[in-house]
Subunit: 604 residues, 2 copies
């Protein structure tokens, strides 16, 4: 099926193809014909998908499109300060062929005009056995998914037509503004202008800038985020020559054009747009390139003000740990105490990005917790981007909480947050249930040490058969056999049929399942006094979960055969047991329903 985005791009392409104004750039090597009909649009996303319409795989010269990338290379190699001393960041309002240096500082106004680009080119030298242009071509290649190269014929043709740039280079040199001889800087510059790319390449280059400098296809970090920030800022105000203000107001995306017919625009964080169409307006900007950017910005709401509407709270929900207890089954007394103490622990579920607004919402909430709260479980599993300021702020908060004898506990299996904010390893958990179990254990120890989970529970005191008389329970126990398991040993696995009821005497059993994508998901932990094995009584009489020993485990098993035997010879006792297990099962249904209720909070 044709995606509506493809459909939109095809329509846009057809409409803008009707624009027939403009003249292609005239300088070209012999035999290299520029076809004014060529017209391609590519849109690359920050996960590396590329939409392509029209002429997207034909090579053309980067020309001025090389400027932001060489500027990035110079910034990366020499640092902001050194480069800033040579090139300013102000929009010049000048056309790209003007010879202009800032009146006060003498520096070129910015790196997007020829003077600035020459100063930048003079900063890039050969190194490691590579010429300057080879290093540049390699660097540019990091923004796309293939090796790029400078075209010798294009370079030669350009050099034959470079009187104006010669004049500029010598003038700059006379003012001491170049870091290499004027002809060397000029050669580097003209060769970088002759690097050949396709419209598809250009969209990936734009997407790499959109993706904070990391190539979304190859994963290569082509440019550091500080340099990206600077490059995009200068493109925003000075990328499209002449009308900086109009571009910011009406398009609102950093962009750059080249006389080779290419235009790129960047939607930071989201996508890179590239257009190839040789006919140029009087400013040397591709007519269709500019029109495409304007239309896309309006239709797709890519303007920097509109595309920034993401300042949501990063808090998905907050509730007491009593509301969603851990999967650790407690005795009735312990469970009752935990319900009472429940408000001393809160779970804060995070979601989305921890950029400024998200972080602020979390900090504000955690700084105004009720006095009674002793434990805060920060569930970081749904967190996406985390900014550095978020780390700093949360680290401060973690320390503040610790000083106030409150514990910040993390559910953070991928360590998106915990280590970076200085959490101790003992407070980082893989699952929410484990984190809450930790808080529950601590709360019990602090407030009711006598109710802390006992290390051993005799079968006769198991929750599942608590409604039976002591005599009945002891009678049942006589029919059980003891089994022992080592840490991590599988006790029951997916697909097994019912073979009896397992009573845990000591140790812990974890229950896991596979989700739709095949990932292992932990569903809970059972301790002494609890039972398992009955799940196989459910759907298709096979269990869907795996149960493993956590540490050394002792269980007593009332086997299926023994149960059959009991039903024949002591139907009353068997009936009592089933009734007890039914009760137990519905306690668990209830627990799962609470968990589902909490997880699907916004269901209704």
């Amino acid at each position: 099926m044709n995606s509506p985005i493809e459909k939109y791009l095809h329509q846009l392409h057809a409409e803008i193809a009707e624009l027939r104004e403009g003249q292609p750039y005239a300088v070209a090597p012999k035999g290299r014909r520029v076809d004014p009909e060529d017209f391609g649009i590519c849109l690359a996303t920050v996960d590396g998908y590329v939409y392509e319409v029209g002429t997207t795989s034909k090579e053309f010269s980067m020309q001025s499109l090389s400027k932001p990338f060489s500027y990035g290379l110079a910034l990366e190699e020499h640092g902001l300060e050194t480069v800033d001393a040579k090139v300013d960041v102000e929009p010049s309002g000048d056309s790209f062929t003007e010879i202009s240096l800032a009146p006060k500082t003498g520096r070129p106004a910015n790196a997007m005009i020829n003077a600035g680009a020459l100063a930048v080119a003079s900063l890039i030298k050969g190194a490691g056995g590579k010429t300057a242009i080879n290093r540049i071509a390699d660097f540019y290649s990091g923004f796309t998914d293939r090796q790029l190269a400078s075209h010798r014929g294009v370079y030669t043709a350009e050099r034959r037509n470079s009187d104006h740039n010669h004049a500029l280079a010598y003038l700059m040199s006379s003012f001491g503004l170049l870091e290499s001889p004027p002809t060397t800087a000029l050669e580097t510059y003209l060769r970088q202008c002759a690097v050949q790319i396709t419209c598809r390449d250009l969209s990936l280059m734009a997407a790499t800038l959109a993706n904070s400098g990391t190539n979304p296809v190859t994963g290569h970090e082509a440019l550091g985020v500080e340099a990206v920030e600077r490059v995009l800022s200068v493109m925003m105000t000075s990328g499209m020559y002449d009308n900086a203000g109009d571009w910011v107001a009406s398009v609102g995306m950093p962009a750059k054009s080249g006389v080779g017919g290419g235009t790129l625009a960047v939607l930071p964080g989201q996508a890179g747009l590239a257009v190839f169409s040789p006919p140029l307006d009087v400013h040397g900007t591709s007519v269709r390139g500019e029109a495409t950017c304007r239309r896309m910005s309006a239709d797709m709401e890519m303007h920097f003000v509109r595309s920034a509407r993401a300042g949501r709270s990063a808090i998905r929900a907050i509730h007491s740990i009593a509301y969603v207890p851990s999967a650790v089954r407690r005795t009735d007394e312990a469970a009752a105490i935990l319900r009472e103490l429940g408000d001393r622990g809160v779970v804060v579920e995070l979601t989305g990005d921890l950029l400024f607004a998200g972080t602020e919402s979390v900090i504000r909430e955690l700084s105004s917790l009720d006095e009674a709260v002793e434990f805060v479980v920060l569930d970081a599993r749904r967190v996406d981007e985390v900014s550095t300021m978020s780390h700093t702020m949360l680290a401060t908060l973690e320390k503040q909480l610790r000083h106030a004898h409150r514990e910040l506990v993390f559910v953070d299996p991928e360590d998106r947050l915990a280590t970076a904010v200085g959490a101790e390893e003992s407070t980082i958990f893989l699952t929410r249930s484990m984190a809450i179990a930790h808080c529950e254990d601590q709360l019990l120890q602090r407030h009711s040490p006598e109710l802390s989970t006992p290390s051993k529970v005799p079968v006769t005191e198991a929750a599942a058969i608590s409604s039976l008389s002591v005599a009945e329970a002891e009678e049942l126990e006589r029919h059980m056999e003891s089994r022992f398991y080592q840490d991590a040993e599988v006790v029951r696995r997916v697909g097994q049929r019912f073979d009896g009821v397992y009573f845990i005497v000591s140790g812990r059993i974890t229950t896991t399942a596979r989700d739709a994508e095949g990932n292992r998901v932990e569903l809970g932990t059972l301790g002494p006094g609890m039972t398992f094995g009955e799940l196989a009584l459910g759907r298709e009489q096979r269990q869907e979960v795996t149960q493993r020993a956590q540490g050394a485990v002792e269980v007593k098993v009332l086997s299926a055969a023994t149960i059959d035997h009991l039903e024949k010879h002591d139907p009353r006792l068997a009936g009592e047991m089933w009734r007890a297990l039914t009760r137990e099962a519905f306690t668990r249904v209830d627990q799962y329903m609470r968990e589902v209720t909490s997880l699907i909070r916004d269901y209704y």
Copy 2:
């Protein structure tokens, strides 16, 4: 507890208070002393929370801070085109006292310099019995939470010192650039400059701009989003005088300063920053105001490139409906068929914003579905912002799917998406379970009409007791009594004790619970052949859910008293029944565990 953000702001305030350069603006009415020590910082979030440090409630004159707001008012009243014809949007590079009109067009370069502000002021007239300045003050007030007014004494003092602006106004009038007499435009302008605000006001005004024009405290739509986009764009390139490029590169936030000592900066979508400190640098910019913006942008990563890192896929998960079936219990045969047909239905869980990147990811996924898919459930409950382009794109997709005989079904209780993309009402559901039930019903009708849920199921065929012999089942039925309920009637409610097992003969029963916030959450729907009432056997022997009739319902009840009686007189049959119910219960545990597994996918 002191929030780390408050702590940071206090530290920043203390550090920047050390900056002692600059001179306060000299023009003031008699007796109104400007204290150079005054220094306040306010940060307002888009949900209306305001952080305040220092002098935040003392009034000062807006001066040039009035320019972006009057520009907004003019844009709102006259439209972009009319205002653009009078005022350009280009950075001028001029200082704010320079008399400068664009060389080609004759228009003032932008609305942030005095010439542009005069042109804008000339567009704002009295109306509806209100003077121009009263209308302006009312409009400004919409951006904060109290009534603002222009200060007569300040206005008078300013007018005594307005030779330069008089010259400018007459010069502009001579070129036909004003829409009212020069002295009228000048008076309006000088009176708007004299509107008194506090630092707190200013932060709310900035936050209103950050919040797409809607006042985050009052909810008032102070300015439309198109005008906000334009105002912020011009502030980005021309708000801080002189060094537009440097501001964009190093701060990257739209901002504006006024000689009254106020500075505002906007982080679109996230926050508004305001600083009050009278000492000005040679450009007329508050020294501490500028320094605070620079520090906050760096420390809090507020630069437009960095703050835009939100281009995540809007798809949280995709899976077949077989993986998380509806809560409607089916017969074993129907369940088996649905497992087979499951890949013909997929659930796509959305999350976060449907701006460009989010929408694109959804469109791409839905456009490349497997050929077999007949039903797509779009779960929109976790969607935040939805852009207009998203509506357009999804509407196209909805039509495409319909033409291909595929149905797009929405889980969208708050109608964030469905109506806007043109979905028919019959395809919009409140819960995921209901949406999936709809798909299941349709699939069964298409592929196995004979297995569609029967309208009536005799108790003897109920799933819960399917393991009993026909004779046993009939024996049980003899002990049951019939009950009838009307639509919406509560059958069992929260807190009730176990009073028997309810077998549904015809009709449907919905189960709901309250979540931590007290919202009603639907947990599932039961149909003919299914049972309920056993949940009260669980925790504390009371049920936590409410069960209601959906339409007319007939049930047969095996009461608790009858069960007690059975246990005494027919223990074998009672035992069989409990065993059957245990099996039923664990089938449900299994179902809930699957649901939990899917909901907590990222648990492990």
